[in-house]
C-alpha cells in the first residue's frame, strides 16, 4: 500500500475500539433487559419497539456497508446514472406500503416470528414455507458476505498496517457476540447508536465535501473535464436497466426477512406508520450524499479500477485529511458511521437467519423442544454461520454491488407469495410454489452461467435476470391459480 495519511491511524483505531466496547456494553444491557427465555423475546424484543428504536433500527438495517461503499463505488463508475439508487431506496417504502399494514395486523393476532410463519399460515403448505425460508437464508448470507467484504476493504484501505482478514475477523466476532447476548433487543438498541452515527456521519462527509472541497464546483466543472460522458443521458437500454433496478432492488429490499421481523416487532400501528413515513425521505440525506462522494471522487481521484472503485469512500477520506488535516477528528465520526452501517446490517441479518433456521426448519423437526433449547440452538447457528461467512468474505471476488444484485434477484421471487398472498385468496399454494421454484431456477441458472464465463449479457435487454424470473413466476401463479380455481370469490385471506 502506498504511503500517505490514513483515516485509521492510532487516534482512529482508538475511537473504533471505544465504539466497539460501547456496542458490547449495549449488547449486555439487552441481555439483562430480557423478560423471558423465549423465541419471541429473543428474536422480536418482546414486540415492543417504540418509535425512536424502530425508526433507527429500520434505518440502520436498511442502510449498510453497501450504501457507503457499493453505492459510492457504483456512482464513481457509472456517473449520474446511478441516481436511480435514491429512487429504489424510496421504492422500498412503497413496497412496505403495499403489504406491511395487513401483515402487521395479522402478526399481532397470529404471533408470527418469521416471514415463513405468514407463508405457512396463509398457504398451509410446508414445502413452500421452507423454500421461502431457504431463499431468505441464502439472500441474507449474501448480504452478510457483501458487508463483511466491505468492512475488510475499508479497514485495509483506511489503515497502514491492518489487513482485510484482521478487520473481517474482529468485526465478525464483535457482532456475533452482542447478537447472541441479547438478540433483537441488543441488536435494536445498538442500532439506535449505529443509526445516529450513520446519519451524522453521512451529513458530515457531505458537508465537508461541499464546503471544504468546493464540491458543487467540482461536480459541475471539474468532473465534466474528467468524465464528460457522465453528462450524457442514459441510453434506452440503460433506462430499461434503471427501471429494472428500481423494481428489483426497491421491492426486493422491502422483503428482507430482517425488515419484516421489524414490522412484527413494532410496538403499535402508529409507531410503524410514523417510522415508515420518515424512512421514505432518508434516501435524500443518506444515499444521495454517498453518491456525491462517488461523483466528487471520480473528479478528484480518477483512474481507479473496478475493484478499487469500491474503496472510493475511504480513498476520499484519506484524500480529505491529506488536503485538510485538521478535519481528521470530525471524519473519525464517519469512520464510526461506516462500522455502524455494516455492523447493524450484519447483526440484523444474522439474527434473521438464526430465527429462520431455528423456527422454520429445526423446530418442526423437534416439536417438543423447549423455548430455551430453541433459543440456544439459534445462538449456536449464529456462531457457526458467522465463521463460515468470514471465510467466504476473504475469498470471494465479486464487486459489492454485484453481490447485492444477486441477493435481491433471488429475494424478489418471494414477492408474489407475500404481496398476492396478503391481498387475495385467489392464489393457491401449489402454483405459488411452482412459480417460486421456476423463477428462482431461472435466476440462479443465469447467475451461474455468468459465473462460469458464459458470453451472455448480465442483464438481458437491460432487465435483470431476476425480473425475467419474476415474470415467469407470476405467469405460473396466474395460470395455475386460474386453472385450479380453488377460491373463486373473496378478496382477503384469513
Amino acid at each position: 500500500m502506498e504511503k500517505g495519511i490514513f483515516i485509521l491511524d492510532s487516534t482512529g483505531i482508538a475511537v473504533v475500539i471505544v465504539y466497539l466496547i460501547l456496542l458490547i456494553i449495549i449488547g449486555l444491557a439487552g441481555r439483562f433487559a430480557r423478560k423471558e427465555n423465549s423465541l419471541d423475546d429473543f428474536y422480536l424484543g418482546g414486540r415492543n419497539l417504540g418509535i425512536i428504536v424502530l425508526l433507527l433500527t429500520l434505518y440502520a438495517t436498511q442502510y449498510s456497508g453497501n450504501t457507503l461503499f457499493g453505492f459510492s463505488g457504483s456512482a464513481y463508475r457509472n456517473g449520474f446514472w446511478f441516481l436511480l439508487s435514491v429512487t429504489f431506496m424510496m421504492a422500498v417504502i412503497a413496497g412496505y406500503l403495499l403489504f406491511a399494514p395487513r401483515l402487521y395486523y395479522l402478526s399481532r393476532h397470529k404471533r408470527y416470528l418469521t416471514t415463513s410463519d405468514f407463508i405457512q399460515d396463509r398457504y398451509n403448505f410446508r414445502p413452500l414455507s421452507i423454500l421461502v425460508s431457504l431463499i431468505g437464508i441464502v439472500a441474507l448470507c449474501n448480504f452478510i458476505l457483501s458487508n463483511l467484504k466491505a468492512i475488510g476493504l475499508f479497514v485495509e484501505s483506511g489503515s497502514a498496517n491492518i489487513s482485510m482478514a484482521q478487520g473481517v475477523i474482529t468485526f465478525a466476532f464483535i457482532v456475533v457476540l452482542y447478537e447472541t447476548l441479547g438478540g433483537m433487543r441488543s441488536v435494536a438498541w445498538t442500532d439506535v447508536l449505529q443509526g445516529l452515527v450513520l446519519f451524522v456521519g453521512c451529513l458530515l462527509i457531505f458537508g465537508v465535501i461541499i464546503f471544504k472541497l468546493d464540491g458543487l464546483h467540482v461536480l459541475t466543472v471539474n468532473l465534466r473535464e474528467v468524465r464528460p460522458e457522465f453528462w450524457n443521458p442514459p441510453t434506452f437500454d440503460q433506462k430499461l436497466s434503471w427501471l429494472s433496478s428500481i423494481l428489483i432492488v426497491g421491492f426486493g429490499i422491502s422483503l428482507y426477512p430482517q425488515a419484516i421481523q421489524r414490522i412484527y416487532a413494532a410496538k403499535s400501528k402508529s409507531v410503524l406508520k410514523r417510522s415508515l413515513q420518515v424512512m421514505v425521505f432518508l434516501p435524500i440525506v443518506t444515499t444521495l450524499f454517498m453518491l456525491t462522494v462517488g461523483w466528487v471522487g471520480a473528479a478528484k481521484i480518477p483512474d481507479l479500477g473496478k475493484e478499487a472503485s469500491d474503496t472510493i469512500t475511504v480513498q476520499m477520506l484519506n484524500f480529505i485529511i491529506t488536503e485538510v488535516p485538521h478535519l481528521q477528528v470530525l471524519l473519525i465520526v464517519f469512520v464510526a458511521a461506516v462500522f455502524a452501517a455494516i455492523m447493524s446490517t450484519v447483526d440484523s441479518s444474522l439474527l434473521s437467519i438464526s430465527s429462520s433456521i431455528t423456527k422454520d426448519i429445526y423446530a418442526p423437526l423437534r416439536p417438543h423442544s423447549s423455548q430455551a433449547e430453541l433459543t440456544l440452538f439459534g445462538k449456536l447457528i449464529s456462531w457457526m454461520l458467522m465463521a463460515a461467512m468470514t471465510v467466504l468474505a476473504l475469498i470471494t471476488q465479486d464487486t459489492i454491488w454485484r453481490l447485492i444484485e444477486i441477493k435481491l434477484e433471488l429475494l424478489i421471487q418471494i414477492a408474489p407469495a407475500i404481496f398476492l398472498g396478503i391481498h387475495t385468496k385467489k392464489v393457491c399454494a401449489v402454483p405459488v410454489f411452482a412459480g417460486l421454484i421456476v423463477g428462482t431456477a431461472i435466476t440462479l441458472l443465469y447467475v451461474i452461467a455468468i459465473k462460469l464465463g458464459s458470453d451472455i449479457p448480465v442483464r438481458p435487454f437491460g432487465i435483470h435476470a431476476g425480473l425475467w424470473g419474476l415474470i415467469v413466476n407470476l405467469a405460473i401463479i396466474g395460470l395455475g391459480s386460474f386453472l385450479k380455481n380453488e377460491s373463486p370469490d373473496g378478496e382477503k385471506l384469513t
Binding site: I93, Y105, S487, T494
Partner: protein, 77 residues
C-alpha cells in the same frame, strides 16, 4: 378496482416516470451545471417520496383491513 391495486398502479406509474425517458443525447445539449435529466429524475423522486408518505398516512387502516367484513384474522378460507 381495489384500493391496493390502485395504489400499486400509482406506485408503478410514479416509478416509471422517475426514469428520464424523454431525455436523449440530441435533445439534451450540455450546458452548465448538472445534467437536465439528472435534475428531472431527482425532482420526480422527491414527488414519489411525498406520495408514498401521504399514502401511508392516508390509507394504512384501509390496507390493514381492520374494519372490513373479512378482516377476522382467525377466519379460514
Amino acid at each position: 378496482m381495489t384500493l391496493v391495486l390502485k395504489l400499486f398502479i400509482s406506485v408503478l406509474i410514479l416509478i416509471v416516470i422517475t426514469v428520464p425517458w424523454f431525455y436523449t443525447a440530441e435533445a439534451s445539449p450540455v450546458d452548465e451545471g448538472l445534467p437536465n435529466w439528472f435534475i428531472y429524475s431527482l425532482f420526480m423522486s422527491v414527488v414519489f417520496s411525498l406520495f408514498i408518505s401521504y399514502a401511508i398516512g392516508r390509507f394504512w387502516d384501509q390496507l390493514a383491513g381492520e374494519n372490513s367484513m373479512d378482516s377476522d384474522p382467525d377466519k379460514k378460507d
